[in-house]
Amino acid sequence: METKQDLLKLYDCELSSRLLVGTALYPSPEIMNKAISASASEMVTLSLRRQDPGNQQGQSIWQHIQQSNCALLPNTAGCHSAQEAITLAQMSREMFNTDFIKLEVIGDDYNLQPDPFETLKAAEILIKMGFKVLPYCTDDLVLCQRLLEVGCEVLMPWGSPIGTGKGLMNPYNLQAIRTRFPSTSLIIDAGIGKPSQAMAAMEMGFDGILLNTAIAKAHDPIIMAQAFSHAVQGGRQAYLAGLMESRQTASPSTPVLGTPFWQQI
């Protein structure tokens, strides 16, 4: 049974839910709010975009996000350089009154792969500016090491490219990152398409899951949000309980002693 002490630690913030969800792509703001509630998430991602001040559409989304009462994790989506990301992070801090920032610097538009060099450069500067940086990064062990060295306390390696739903593309790399940094809060961000994939990541020992499309684009986002919530909790419990070692050969679970119809010659 999960105890109350098993909290997700993100810098000085502790959350009882290990599922973070995005606020984009939902059929309506009302369904978004119901899905967030069903997910039991306590932190949601959001962004800043160009809008006409007279346009009320963005205001409506913003009001609904505020109604969710979740902590806010603004992102720097769409940025292609450290400078763009730093400026957007500063704007987000003023708008949303939080030091938390999901640092996202895209290096290639084909697969929306994060740029490791610009991400690292931005992370170092933002940490010095007092931000609590959650970098979206590739599953590169050395990049993760460098991000920790500049002061990141949370890392968010991708499972697979954003919006693909392909799950954990490279379990070996992810396991290496988990093993190498046992005390760092690690969140799988992007690429999770099914609850089973989220559960697999949690069973590996990842601390949390951040996803958006898999819930928002489900036929029923509210039920899917519940499914992901259960999967993340189940995976966490399995990790804490300790998984058995896998074996190459069969081993009977029923005691061999006293086997009936044993042929004694």
Binding site: S47, P53, W62, N75, T87, L88, T213
Partner: protein
């Protein structure tokens, strides 16, 4: 006259206009800092963040580009 761009849209202004004065045109009249916060937008000038407290003293120059951003859904 000078020409600036707001989110890539050109706007003509008189010389020595401040950020506050431009915003007054956009949001129908002068606004206090809390009102601007309520209005829900933040600004970068030529890709540099400008805090709300500096709007009244930030002078605009010809070819300046204002990025005017508001909260939006995101993943």
């Amino acid at each position: 006259m000078i020409t600036i761009r707001i989110n890539d849209r050109p706007i003509n202004l008189t010389k020595n206009s401040t950020l506050s004065q431009v915003l007054e045109q956009l949001v129908n009249g002068p606004k206090t800092e809390p009102e601007l916060n309520q209005q829900g937008f933040v600004i970068a000038l030529n890709q540099n963040f400008v805090p709300r407290s500096q709007y009244p003293t930030t002078l605009l120059n010809d070819n300046d580009h204002i990025e005017l951003l508001s909260p939006m859904a995101g993943g």
